[in-house]
């Protein structure tokens, strides 16, 4: 089943002489429960594509639908709500709120929607952290976690509201091989068990090999 579709996606930055065309009519379809790697050299537009798919940035032109919703027509409020319910993010850096515990970070997407930290949210957040192998780090201030642990907290948070899609921009780019493998194993496990779609940008062939689909971008379009 089709989860999201973009077609003729164009994104340019700047204007006139300084204009950079990053995406040049890109087409892409993602299905439910896909585990896909997004490959391409640095500067090829992977992050740009992910932020557009995540509704954090609007394309210059092109169509963008997800779950049957035309996202190019939605206003900021609607996009925020859509993002909260249907999309999870894992970034490379600065993922977590440093002044909050692991659990507080994980339940943020639910708490911000409900206006409070409910007991149910705490229970789910703790379960997710246990699943990420962080049973003894639940109440830890995130500032005291290792890089690998931080990324696993970020994955747990991305899953908190049971989104259909998780976008991960080089989630292991900052980690050693063992930690990176651990994070990828967890992602693969969630994808298999819950049917969550993952789109993971990376330029690590070994990470890409763990995904069932490889999408390569180059010159602003999907080349493979």
């Amino acid at each position: 089943m089709t989860l999201l579709q973009v077609s003729d996606l164009v994104k340019t930055f700047g204007a006139g002489e300084a204009e950079t065309r990053v995406l040049r009519g890109l087409n892409l379809t993602l299905k439910t429960a896909e585990l896909a790697a997004l490959l391409g050299p640095s500067g090829s537009g992977k992050s740009t594509l992910l932020t557009i798919l995540g509704t954090l940035m609007r394309p210059t032109s092109g169509a963008h639908t997800m779950l049957g919703v035309d996202l190019t027509r939605a206003d900021d409020r609607a996009l925020t709500e859509f993002r909260n319910r249907h999309i999870g993010f894992v970034f490379q850096f600065h993922n977590l709120l440093p002044d909050f515990t692991a659990l507080e970070n994980v339940i943020f997407p639910t708490a911000v929607r409900e206006g409070r930290e409910s007991a149910a949210a705490r229970t789910r957040g703790a379960e997710l952290l246990v699943r990420m192998g962080l049973k003894d780090r639940i109440q830890f201030p995130t500032a005291n976690l290792s890089g690998g642990q931080k990324q696993r907290v970020a994955v747990a948070r991305a899953l908190m509201n049971r989104p259909e899609l998780v976008l991960a921009d080089e989630p292991t780019g900052n980690l050693d091989r063992a930690s990176a493998g651990q994070v990828m194993d967890l992602i693969a496990e969630i994808n298999r068990d819950e049917g969550t779609t993952f789109l993971i940008s990376t330029h690590d062939e070994k990470i890409a090999a763990l995904c069932r689909r490889q999408i390569v971008v180059g010159d602003g379009v999907v080349t493979g």
Binding site: S47, T51, G54, L56, M57, D76, R77, T80, E81, R83, N84, R85, F89, F91, Q92, F93, H94, N95, L96, L97, P98, D99, F100, F108, P109, A111, V112, R113, E114, G115, R116, E117, R157, N161, D169
Partner: protein
């Protein structure tokens, strides 16, 4: 809101030293606000007590008889009778004085005969104003007894009280005699029974107090008085009491505020200076909070971006920073008010204040509630600009991946 408040308070507790400094800065502004309120308020009370304290609060002055208007005759536009030329007299006051004295809020009533004349001793001739007071009521209006340097304030018949400067100019001392001639041409030889110093130039230089009986002879006023002065417990009640006295007696009673416009102006100017200083204190608070929060939003840009990515709306981000401003305002306000109260406690009360020793601070006029309220409001207003800029951040650039 509750959740935004949780994030806001966590942000404040996360950097305790920074928050502490900010709150302290706000508290300092509040302290200045409160100190100024207590000082300006205390100063106004002090000045009033000093000046209006020796002043009559309500005065009944005999009006110079208006020339009678005669009914216009045929072909005559206006006919006027001759002016009387005599000193204006309040007749029949004797029966009215007890009525006035019985009014609630009235502490004293002083019937007076005023006039002018000149004093001579040796070759010196000095113009003076004659103030005839009822013996036993010398200190009802101005506390004459408290200003006496030599002798006493009691106005015995044949006695006169002179200001220190006047006595010096005439070169007389206690117990000596001076000659007083009124403008009516009556002459009296009086004994100096007291010398006073009020501190203000006028009365010390040109006022001679005599008994009412002596004044009657000098001014040639066998009955009635020229003026009745009335003192109140609360000088601000004068505006309400004057018409009451007027209605009761049919006499033209005037509140001190009608005559003391200058004093009121001065007090008003002083209050305005106070407002300006207080406004600056508030402005300092607002600028301090705004700049601190602006810095905080800048420092937390990536976090704001993350929160937005996780589904926090603009309103939520805005609330996080406005609540921080409000919390800083409340804490700084309470701290500053508490601090202000403690410091003001250390000052001697206004009652014990005498000029030249410290400040006439009135701890009850600190406007503590107003200070806390205005500070909180100011801090919330100050946070709106930084909060808006935080809410409008583009999440992608904020995250800065």
């Amino acid at each position: 809101m509750l959740y935004a408040a949780k994030i806001a308070s966590r942000y404040l507790t996360a950097s305790l030293a920074q928050t502490g400094l900010l709150v302290l800065g706000v508290a300092l502004g509040v302290f200045i606000f409160i100190f100024m309120s207590a000082l300006i308020g205390g100063l106004a009370s002090f000045i009033l007590a000093r000046t209006a304290g020796d002043m009559a609060h309500v005065t009944i002055q005999a009006e110079a008889q208006d020339p009678a208007l005669l009914g216009p005759a045929q072909g005559v536009l206006l006919a006027q009778g001759p002016a009387t030329g005599h000193t204006a007299i309040l007749r029949d006051t004797a029966a009215l004085l007890p009525l006035i004295a019985a009014l609630p809020g009235v502490t004293g009533v002083s019937p007076q005969i005023n006039g002018s004349g000149f004093m001579t001793r040796g070759g010196e001739v000095i113009q003076v104003s004659i103030m005839g007071l009822e013996p036993g009521r010398e200190s009802v209006i101005a506390n004459l007894a408290s200003y006496i340097l030599q002798g006493s304030a009691d106005l015995a018949s044949g006695g006169v009280l002179l200001g220190k400067t006047l006595a010096e100019d005439l070169d007389v001392t206690l117990g000596q005699q001076v000659r007083l001639t009124s403008t009516q041409g009556v002459e009296a030889l009086l004994t100096v029974t007291g010398i006073y110093q009020m501190g203000s130039g006028g009365p010390d230089r040109r006022q001679a107090y005599v008994g009412l009986a002596t004044a009657r002879v000098l001014i040639q006023m066998p009955q009635g008085v020229t003026r009745v002065e009335i003192k109140l417990t609360d000088l601000y009640a004068a505006d309400a009491l004057a018409p009451q006295i007027k209605a009761l007696t049919g006499l033209d009673a005037k509140s001190w505020t009608e005559q003391a416009a200058q004093l009121l102006d001065a007090l008003q100017a002083q209050a305005q200076t106070g407002y300006i200083l207080k406004a600056f204190a508030l402005l300092t608070i607002i600028i301090g909070v705004a700049s601190a929060l602006l810095l905080s939003t800048y420092r937390r840009r990536p976090e704001i971006g993350i929160m937005r990515a996780m589904g926090a709306g603009r309103g939520f981000v805005m609330a996080v920073f406005v609540i921080q401003g409000g919390l800083i305002g409340v804490m700084g306000g309470l701290l500053g008010a508490g601090l202000g109260y403690l410091v003001l406690l250390a000052f001697p009360g206004r009652e014990s204040f005498s000029s030249g020793s410290g400040l006439p601070i009135d701890i009850t006029q600190g406007a503590y509630g107003l200070a806390i309220w205005l500070t909180t409001l100011g801090a919330v207003l100050a946070s709106i600009l930084p909060a808006r800029s935080a809410a409008r951040l583009d999440p992608v650039t904020a995250i800065g991946q």
